[in-house]
Every structure is written in structure tokens, then in C-alpha cells.
């Protein structure tokens, strides 16, 4: 790790989601030196946690695989996982970056055979499943994780279990003496692609996410529908593990709301439309199964209108033009009751559903100002394209609420900007 050499001609990409991977790969494919750093133990970001993705409804593993192949082919691209930037100083073409690398306790010898995990029994909440299920304290983050290397959670370090994991490994890959490292790197340009996180649903008091078991978020729903998710692809509601069939989706949960996020999160309309197709797919001809989407207005931008039209034609999917006022719970059945008034006719409703999915908004995952105080961001904390930011460029959801397609386009643009900066450095030094 310490042999990592970076110069003013290096492009540093922070965040290894689809945007960061794209920016890094494209710069490397153009012959630039790139360092890609990722906070978690694996690349992929939130796309790897989706069951399918719109508009084609294919599985994200496929796009991930293509990108990983491109990435592995690039000798000029170096990846650091479990790493975070702590400070950026300097100017365009000449940045000094401090990076903190957390110990994984497993080195490059790992073949991902899994013997270490079998040797331990302690469990931790599984962040890949949004903590809805647990995983061993020695784990592979997810099936397609890159690097394919196990992680030992810090909670068992110093216990007998850690030693058991070490003994179980035939490849000498477990290194319990690893400790936190700090690195100082040079970089000519920085691409900030730290992505998004779901808005904290507990803050939307009238919807009772903190009180009612059967109110969940869209990201949790996405995991539940995945065969590799916490319920193995079955829609089992949290209160009683019964199959949920009558599903409500609440749009703009936390978005377009001056009490929460002022911006439109832009993807959540499409996400709920997509998720309604999961219900239709899962339950086929079952007449009891239906999705009801409560919305202010559906924002299926440009060509996504087709997708919206298709979902409108699905007899299993219903639309109610209304922002739900509040939710209560039927204590006997655990059903959730949505209260409100619809805008098409001003009819009062108190609708009972098995499960309610909050289409939560997107908010920036990392605050760039903590490491580069002068960077310009908008009111929501997204990085703006501003000359004052020098050669620090936002990419993907760090810059705005974007779908994968737009994130990737945006990342490519950021990559080009960064390439121009290091090209200038190179010609000045020549």
C-alpha cells in the first residue's frame, strides 16, 4: 500500500460507485494514472444493492461485471478500499490529499474460499442488506464484491474468534496485526463521486417509520425483492412475516418538502414505478395483489414517459393523486392505514394496506466541505459546477439526484475535465 506513487499528473477519484468507477476507468483508458478510493470494503455502491434497474429491468450485476472487467484491465488504475479522504489542500494541478485507510485484517493472499468465515459464529448487522439481516463478523460484502476478499469486522479483533479465523486460513491471508494507516498523495485533479444516501425516514414523523413495523423504505424494499436479499426475494412483511400483497408507495417521502429536502430527488418516481412491476411479476394472476402509488405528480423524465405509460396500463397498479397526510396502524392486524384527501375530486380516504413503502429522497452521502472547506455546494449539499472549485469535480449523485444513466454521463464529463487539468500539468512539466 505504501508503494502507491501518485503525482500531479494523477487523477484521484473518491467513491467507488457506478459514477466513480466510470470516471476512473475512462480516465485510465485515456492513459492517465488514476487512484480510486472507496470507503466500504468493495466497489459497486448503491447500484449493487438494487434488485433490477430501470428502464430495461435488467439486473445490475451485468453492468457491474462489465465495468469490473474494464477496471481490472487497467494497470494505471489503482484501487484502495476501506479508505477515506480526510483532507484536500492545494490548487488545480497540485493537490495534496490525506487518506485514512482502515484495517481489513485480510491481505491480498485471500482466495475468497470462505474458511475464515466458517470458523467464526459472531454476527453483525449486514450493511449491504440495510441492516435488515445479519452476517458473520468475518464476511464477503456481497457475491460480486471487488476485490473478492473477506473482511474481518473490528468487533471481534482481540477475541479468540479472530484467532480461529486466522488458523482456518490456509493461505496466510489473515493478518490480525493490521492497523489504521494514513497516506499522503499528490493529485492534479480530484473527482468527487461519493454518491447519495437515503433520507432518514425517522424524521418524517406523520409516516411512523419509527413506530410501525410495516412502513419500510424504498431501498429496503429493493433488497427484499432480491433473491439474495434478507427475505430471499419474498415480500414478507416485518411485523408477522406474512406475505404482503396490497402494497402502498408514498412518493416524495422527504423530498420537495421545506421541512425536509427542498429538492426533487428525481429518481424515486421511476423507482416506485419499477417496484410496482416487481409486485406484478411476483404475484402474476393473484387478484389480491396490487400496488397503489400515492403521488403529487409523477416525474418520469423524458424517455421514461414510456415506462410510466406501461405501468399505467398494468391493471395491478393504481394511482392516487395525493400526498398522504399521515399513517396509522391497525394494532390487531398490523396493517397500515393511509389517511388523506385526493386532489382529483377532493375525496377523503382511509386506505388499509399490508405494507407501505416510502420512496425516500436522496441526500449527499459525504460532505465535501469537511475535507475541502471552500468547495461550492447547493442548498442540499450537492457539489456545484463552479470555477471556484478548481479541479475538484463532482460526479454522479454527489452532484445531484441522478439515475444510473445520467450518473454515468456526468461521470464521463467529470473525467474529461480532470483529464484536461492533468494534460495541462503534463505540458507545463515537459
Amino acid at each position: 500500500m505504501t508503494d502507491l506513487v501518485a503525482t500531479n499528473e494523477t487523477i484521484l477519484v473518491v467513491g467507488g460507485g457506478i459514477s466513480g468507477m466510470t470516471a476512473a476507468i475512462e480516465a485510465a483508458e485515456c492513459g492517465k494514472d488514476v487512484v480510486l478510493i472507496e470507503k466500504t470494503p468493495a466497489l459497486g455502491g448503491r447500484v449493487s444493492q438494487l434488485y433490477k434497474y430501470f428502464p430495461k429491468l435488467c439486473h445490475p450485476v451485468c453492468g457491474l461485471e462489465i465495468n469490473l472487467r474494464r477496471l481490472k484491465a487497467q494497470k494505471r488504475l489503482r484501487v484502495l478500499t476501506m479508505a477515506q479522504v480526510t483532507n484536500i489542500s492545494g490548487n488545480a494541478g497540485d493537490y495534496s490529499v490525506s487518506i485514512k485507510v482502515s484495517p481489513r485484517y485480510v491481505n491480498e493472499n485471500c482466495t475468497a474460499c470462505g474458511a475464515c468465515a466458517e470458523a467464526v459464529s459472531s454476527e453483525i448487522d449486514d450493511p449491504f442488506q440495510y441492516n435488515m439481516s445479519r452476517t458473520k463478523a468475518v464476511y464477503l460484502p456481497f457475491n460480486m464484491a471487488y476485490p473478492q476478499r473477506y473482511v474481518i469486522d473490528g468487533s471481534i479483533i482481540g477475541t479468540a474468534e479472530a484467532d480461529q479465523a486466522k488458523t482456518a486460513c490456509q493461505y496466510n491471508a489473515v493478518d490480525l496485526d493490521m492497523s489504521e494507516e494514513t497516506l499522503e498523495l499528490k493529485a492534479g485533479a480530484v473527482i468527487w463521486a461519493t454518491g447519495w444516501k437515503p433520507y432518514d425516514a425517522n424524521k418524517i414523523q406523520p409516516y411512523g417509520y419509527d413506530r410501525y413495523a410495516n412502513v419500510i423504505t424504498s431501498v429496503e424494499f429493493e433488497r427484499m425483492m432480491d433473491p439474495y436479499g434478507p427475505t430471499a426475494g419474498k415480500l414478507l412483511r416485518p411485523s408477522d412475516n406474512k406475505e404482503a400483497k396490497n402494497i402502498a408507495f408514498i412518493q416524495c417521502a422527504g423530498s420537495r418538502d421545506r421541512n425536509h429536502l427542498t429538492h426533487c430527488s428525481r429518481i424515486c418516481c421511476m423507482a416506485s414505478l419499477k417496484q410496482s412491476t416487481y409486485i406484478s411479476e411476483q404475484y402474476g394472476d393473484d387478484d389480491d395483489a396490487k400496488s397503489t402509488i400515492y403521488y403529487i405528480d409523477i416525474r418520469a423524465i423524458d424517455r421514461f414517459e414510456d415506462f410510466y405509460k406501461k405501468v399505467q396500463d398494468d391493471p395491478k397498479t393504481h394511482f392516487v393523486k395525493s400526498k398522504v397526510a399521515n399513517i396509522t396502524e391497525d394494532e390487531k392486524t398490523g396493517d397500515v392505514i393511509l389517511h388523506g384527501v385526493d386532489t382529483e375530486g377532493y375525496n377523503r380516504y382511509d386506505n388499509s394496506h399490508d405494507l407501505c413503502v416510502l420512496a425516500v429522497g436522496m441526500t449527499p452521502n459525504a460532505n465535501i466541505k469537511e475535507v475541502a472547506a471552500d468547495t461550492h455546494t447547493d442548498v442540499s449539499g450537492f457539489i456545484e459546477a463552479d470555477e471556484a472549485n478548481g479541479a475538484i469535480f463532482g460526479a454522479g449523485c454527489a452532484s445531484n439526484a441522478l439515475d444510473v444513466n445520467r450518473s454515468v454521463q456526468h461521470a464521463t464529463a467529470a473525467s474529461l475535465r480532470a483529464i484536461q487539468v492533468v494534460n495541462r500539468v503534463a505540458s507545463a512539466e515537459a
Partner: protein, 207 residues
Amino acid sequence: MTATNTAVVAKYQNNFLQEVEANVEEGDWVKMCMQCGVCAGSCPLGDAWDHSPQEIFMMIRAGKREEVLTSDSMWMCTSCYNCIVRCPRELPITHIMHGLANYAHRLGIAHKKNPTRRFAKIFWDNVTKNGRANELTLSIRLYFMDGIVSGIKIGLQMVGMGLGMLKTGRLDPMALVMHKGIKDTKGLHAMLKKAYEIEGKRKGYAS
């Protein structure tokens, strides 16, 4: 039709939204409503009224002047503030509702029989008479609002409470004949008259 009403109708022609923006307290917020429906669903009075705030705001934009100003909705508002707390656009809904009530009253369009309007008027007259509320005469006027018979009936129902209040000194029986107001009642009346004039001038009401 009061003269004031005729004058504003002439001034704003068919643009009721503009009229509301200019004359109703917090009226310039109305255009910010995005018709999400949260206020309508959050009002504890629910279906006890003609129109929800959401509907009122849409009607204002649609120019439904008569229906809005004669609606009972703004008189039903209990100032619970549930709608203000939840409105994603932070409209001061409660205040707009009271502003509308006040405006409809000022124009002389509000229903004369609306109980909330009548209570508000009784209270206003009572408190402005000498600058202090006279609880005894206020209650009596309120009880007899709908005539002698119903007044006696309500009075009899409330006897227990009245006696209790007398005993604990919460009600002064002498207030019937002598109620101590503020020192300068005349000054207060002059101030209120002036304020009324200034408002009329600012908003261009015919006096």
C-alpha cells in the same frame, strides 16, 4: 352588496387571486400551493366543512370569488396548526384562513348566521367596549345568541359551572352593572377607528 365589495369587484375585475394577494393577510402565499393535499388530510375537522384549505386555494386561483368568500371553511378553522406544520411549501395556512374570514366579513359577504362569525363579533364588541373582556356579559350574550328560549336552556345547563366559578371568585356578579375597563377607553376607540381608516386607505376600500 356593500360599497366596499362593489369597489373591489370593479378594481380586480376577474382576477380574484390578485385581489386575495393584495387584501388578505398572507394572501400572497396562495400561489405557492402545489395542491399536494396534505393540509386537507391533516385537518382534524376533516369533513365538517365545505372546502379544505387545498380546495380553497385552488378555488381562489380558479376565480371562484363568491364560493370562496361565502364558504364556511375559514370560519371552521380552530387554529390547531397541523396543516402549517406539515405543508411541504410552508404556507401559513391557518393565517390565510383567518385572513380570508376577516376579508369576507369586512366586505359584508360572510354569512350573517355563521356561528363562529357571530361569536367573533360578540367577542370583539365586548372587548373593545372598554378595553377589557367582560366575561359575564360575554357569556350571557353568547347564551342568548339564538333567542330567549334557547338562552335559558343553555343557562340552566351551565348553572353548575357558573356557581362553581362564583364560589372560586372566577366570575364577578357585579360585572353585570359595573365593569372596570381600562383608563382611557376614549383613546382606545380613537386608535381603533384610525387603524380601520388606515387599512381602508391602504387597501383602497370605499369607506
